[in-house]
């Protein structure tokens, strides 16, 4: 059962990772096209900034789920790492509950935005803002899924010593 769930989740992670890579590429190409358009072709592409910004918002919400899977969100786990395993497991679950609560609030709070967004269109692209606001519940949902999976994965060794890659943020 768990194995099947993990297989499905791996498939989903691949898909999300692919979408994140495409969003990043679109964001970069849009900004480069904006520069190129201005200097090389002498006209500005009005939609470029909006395409890039919307890609960024989706990228961050989906990418945060990928970062969660890679253990890339910085935490100070000196205290729980020093606990004996049964207590460390309690801490692991408590942390997951805190995160899940926040994600639930994030998703739930987005509902009024999405309802309102059905009647709003973006200034340059003329797409309904609902499609942009949707990133909040979708991203929160994916993060929650990765969260559950990470608790299962870390059950036997809840707080492994940090690896370099995990620390690498600004």
């Amino acid at each position: 059962m768990v194995a099947l769930l993990e297989r499905l989740c791996l498939l989903l992670r691949r898909l999300v990772s692919g979408v994140v890579i495409v969003l990043f590429a679109v964001m970069m190409i849009a900004v480069l096209a904006q520069v190129g358009g201005r200097y090389v072709f002498g006209y500005s592409i009005a939609q470029a900034a909006e395409i890039a910004t919307f890609s960024q918002i989706w990228l961050v919400l989906l990418g945060s789920g990928v970062a969660l899977a890679r253990g890339q969100h910085v935490a100070i786990d000196m205290v729980p790492a020093a606990l004996p395993r049964p207590l460390a497991r309690v801490a692991l679950v408590a942390i997951a509950v805190v995160i899940a609560t926040f994600l639930a609030v994030l998703a739930w709070g987005a509902l009024p935005l999405i309802r309102m967004g059905a009647f709003q269109t973006s200034p340059a692209l003329r797409i309904p803002m609902r499609d942009v606001y949707l990133c909040l519940p979708v991203g929160a949902g994916y993060m929650a899924l990765e969260l559950i999976l990470s608790v299962i994965r870390r059950w036997d060794d809840p707080f492994p010593p940090p690896e370099v890659e995990a620390e690498e943020i600004a």
Binding site: A67, M78, L113, P162
Partner: protein, 428 residues
């Protein structure tokens, strides 16, 4: 207020990731202390991410990742080694100079520290250098990537306190380079006391310098693209960051040929997930700082500080100590987003130049990433060196003393940070 503070530190100690500590304690405070619907959380997170200016962050992260994978870091270390490898304590000196070179390309202190450590640590070990001191020194030098432009931290602080990113970038050049020189001096005197090991330096030859300079030349184009483009008014900082990433991509793929197209998806995903974790912090910290502003903390703190003294210098000292303390315990970006909106208006009211103030905050943040208990650069440098954090931290004394001296100098001599941006006409 007490609810926010208790929730915050409790969750932090429990080991909840910083980004969710900010979010969850904000939710807790909203529910217990205000009548504001929690839906504001989603609005604030969205508003925090809906920014073209902050897009400089993912692009600068990408430029840093590409710089390392594309062989740019290695060429810069080679050049630094030809340039300064003949001085006593050569490997320490090379680390410092290479860190400055990478800092001019990358905007992230920990990425810089990781890149230098990966190349220098094996050499330090092989030649019998003090690995712990080396790791501490590299952590300090690498953290200065936040002070030497371009810098992610500067982009964030500029957005928060509404100052010009270009002016802040230029203001960081002189103090950043001074810090590097200071670290080189510290390394020199430490190495001189260290005995024969540190004297086996490589001879200086013009031929080697020339050869490595030619190899490093395409990489050296990146800082010119970034700074020149921004200062010349060719690009906005966001566009410059995108162009820098693209330029690094071209250099890595077609000049150095270390970068293969098949590596790209992995590198992009890596950049995206690093950038996402940074930017989600911006989103959740935005909720948190809205709460603090709502609880009237800025006004209360302002009244307290003006009650203590109306002297500009006293204020700067208080601000420095506060930031240093917070930087020791907290994640840099979260610290900026929470504290800068509180202190910046007071600084302005006291007549402190906003660029000068922002730069002091940045320097404190850089020092904060090296100081235990919580210092990302220190963690990265220790872990690449394969040494316990506490052993490395014990050797940090002199390098940190050097950085503190510079911090004091930049605090009391505003000209150090403000002269260059004035010269370029970015501020008056």
């Amino acid at each position: 207020m007490t609810v926010i503070a208790l929730g915050f530190f409790g969750l932090l100690l429990l080991g909840v990731p910083v980004v969710f500590v900010l979010g969850a304690s904000a939710v807790l405070a909203l529910v217990t202390t205000t009548n504001v619907p929690v839906a504001i959380v989603s609005q604030r997170v969205f508003a925090g991410l809906n920014s073209f200016t902050l897009m400089a962050i993912p692009f600068f992260v990408f430029a840093g990742v590409i710089m390392d994978a594309g062989g740019i870091s290695r060429r810069i270390v080679d050049f630094a080694s030809a340039l300064i490898g003949w001085v006593v304590g050569s490997l320490y000196q090379v680390s410092c100079v290479a860190a400055a070179g990478l800092a001019a390309i990358s905007g992230s202190g920990s990425a810089d520290t990781a890149a230098i450590s990966a190349i220098m640590q094996p050499q330090l070990r092989r030649r019998g250098y003090d690995v712990d001191f080396g790791a501490g020194l590299i952590a300090c030098a690498g953290s200065l990537a936040q002070v030497i432009p371009p810098s992610l931290t500067m982009v964030i602080i500029a957005v928060v306190s509404n100052v010009s990113i270009s002016a802040l970038f230029v203001a960081g050049i002189v103090p950043g380079l001074m810090c590097i020189v200071m670290l080189m001096l510290v390394a020199y005197f430490t190495a001189r006391r260290g005995g024969e090991t540190y004297r086996d330096a490589e001879p200086f030859t013009m031929a080697r310098l020339g050869r490595t300079a030619v190899a490093a030349l395409p990489a050296a184009g990146m800082p010119f693209v970034i700074l020149g483009g921004i200062l010349g008014g060719v690009f906005t900082p966001t566009e410059a960051a995108a162009v820098a990433g693209f330029y690094g991509l071209l250099v890595g793929m077609f000049v150095y040929r270390d970068l293969k197209p098949a590596m790209l998806p992995g590198l992009i995903l890596r950049s995206a997930s690093i950038a996402a974790s940074v930017m989600l912090i911006i989103g959740t910290a935005a909720v948190f700082s809205w709460l603090i502003a709502n609880a009237n903390v800025p006004r209360m703190l302002g009244e307290w500080i003006t009650g203590v003294s109306t002297s500009k210098l006293i204020f700067l000292i208080i601000a420095n100590v506060l930031f240093l303390f917070v930087g020791m315990f907290m994640e840099t970006i979260a610290a900026i987003l929470i504290i800068v909106p509180v202190l910046a208006p007071i600084a302005a009211q006291m007549g402190v130049d906003p660029i000068h103030f922002s730069l002091l905050v940045i320097m404190n943040c850089a020092i904060g990433t090296v100081t235990p208990p919580y210092g990302v650069s220190l963690f990265v440098a220790s872990s690449v060196a394969g040494r316990p954090v506490l052993k490395v931290a014990r050797k940090l004394g002199w390098p940190l003393a050097g950085l503190f001296a510079m911090q004091i100098a930049v605090t009391f001599i505003p000209a150090l940070s403000l002269t260059l941006p004035r010269l370029f006409g970015l501020i008056d």
